[in-house]
Symmetry: C2
Subunit: 241 residues, 2 copies
């Protein structure tokens, strides 16, 4: 179990005690691997545990009967992919691997026990699901009000900020973005053709470039300005403001 989960939690609450950290870590089973493209949580299932991404990229998605597909979240190293399953019981969406992934699970029984005996840690898990919801609200704002260019820029700002939170990206450097244009399109709610045109516009504006699995932000200030991005909702920095 990599420590990216703990690292994210500490970014959100410095007062997490070593005892709680250890307790959380020791609750996980051994990590397993999932090949790219394979689902590891099925829509409609009733999981008995919650899953964390240890390495690689995954996404949550929902589909309409005729095949239209909406990605509702991207999950990177250290993210819970289905914390909601602890209480919702039945998955209202599927979760699949985008790249080859390693994943680890924490049983619902263990989480129940945390809520009974470690309220501080329990509140932190609750916070984690609240941040997921805050991200969803931003996606909804983007989907409803932002243009394709603004929407793409905003999503890239979000992903970069989150990757930075677990040390997988740094300002000025390129970072790994193992998505296909089809994934990106399913997250933005636009066609793959328009993804291609939108990315080429971002490149033309000297804001962002992406070739294969390697992406790079060329103008961080400019990209945030286009997107109207404010990272506060991600709760990944300690500055109290």
């Amino acid at each position: 179990m990599s420590d990216h989960l703990i690292r994210q939690l500490i970014l959100r609450d410095r007062s997490l005690t070593p005892a709680s950290r250890h307790r959380l870590n020791s609750g996980f089973g051994p990590s397993t691997t999932v090949p790219a493209g394979e689902d590891f949580v099925a829509k409609g299932s009733r999981p008995k545990h919650c899953t964390v991404v240890v390495s690689g990229w995954a996404c949550s998605y929902d589909t309409l009967p005729d095949g239209r597909r909406q990605i509702t979240a991207f999950h990177i190293s250290g993210d819970f992919v289905d914390l909601q399953s602890f209480r919702l019981k039945r998955m209202d969406q599927g979760v699949g691997a985008i790249s080859d992934c390693r994943i680890a699970t924490l049983s619902h029984a263990a989480i129940l026990d945390i809520t009974e005996t470690d309220p501080h840690l329990a509140r932190l898990l609750w916070l984690s699901s609240l941040v997921d919801a805050a991200v969803l609200r931003q996606w909804l704002l983007s989907s409803g009000q932002r243009s394709a260019l603004e929407h793409a820029a905003h999503l890239l700002c979000e992903l970069f900020t989150r990757l930075r939170g677990v040390g997988m990206a740094a300002p000025g450097e390129s970072f790994e973005l193992p998505l296909s244009h089809a994934d990106f399109a399913a997250a933005l709610g636009i066609s793959t053709v328009h993804v291609s045109r939108t990315l080429s516009e971002l490149r033309t504006l000297n804001l962002f470039q992406w070739r294969g699995r390697e992406a790079q932000i060329l103008d961080w200030e400019g990209l945030q300005r286009v997107a109207n991005f404010d990272p506060a909702y991600l709760m990944l920095s300690d500055d109290p403001r």
Copy 2:
């Protein structure tokens, strides 16, 4: 304090004890009134309590600097409007009254105490925020993939089902829908002009009609079919399935 909040919680967990119910209820301050159109939770504020709608309709929304506005949730009687403020501290959106509202508040201190000493009730509050997130995922799916007609139908199905949950709507009867077309448009992410056209199409299809504040579903099965609506995500029925 009306009992719609408790009613909703019990729909989601029958095992809520009378002691917990009483404890929750007695934590609320006296209810106050808010006139239609007025905001009662400001974006960027740091609330010290969470607010519940006792009667009337409210909405959460976010705006872009140039004025584009996205409603992210409608709140009816018995709904928490900002449960996330308990942990997120800073509101990432505003909440305003759509019709004249009565509201009541529960201090963060009281919620903190609940998490320390009544884990069962705490889990139920957590569930409540998880259902809010499930609703958001449906809104995102609608916004990204459904046509305006499907999207409108889906939102109407959601609202009707939730109103029924608190006894404010019944199959075959008309119900109060105190929204303007502008509100509806800001929730769907379309223009008011297109709201008008879309509603007129629903009327033409004999699915739904709405005049002034009074709305009526003409064909519940048909409306759900157009919307591809499955109420399971709202967690408002007890059937275990």
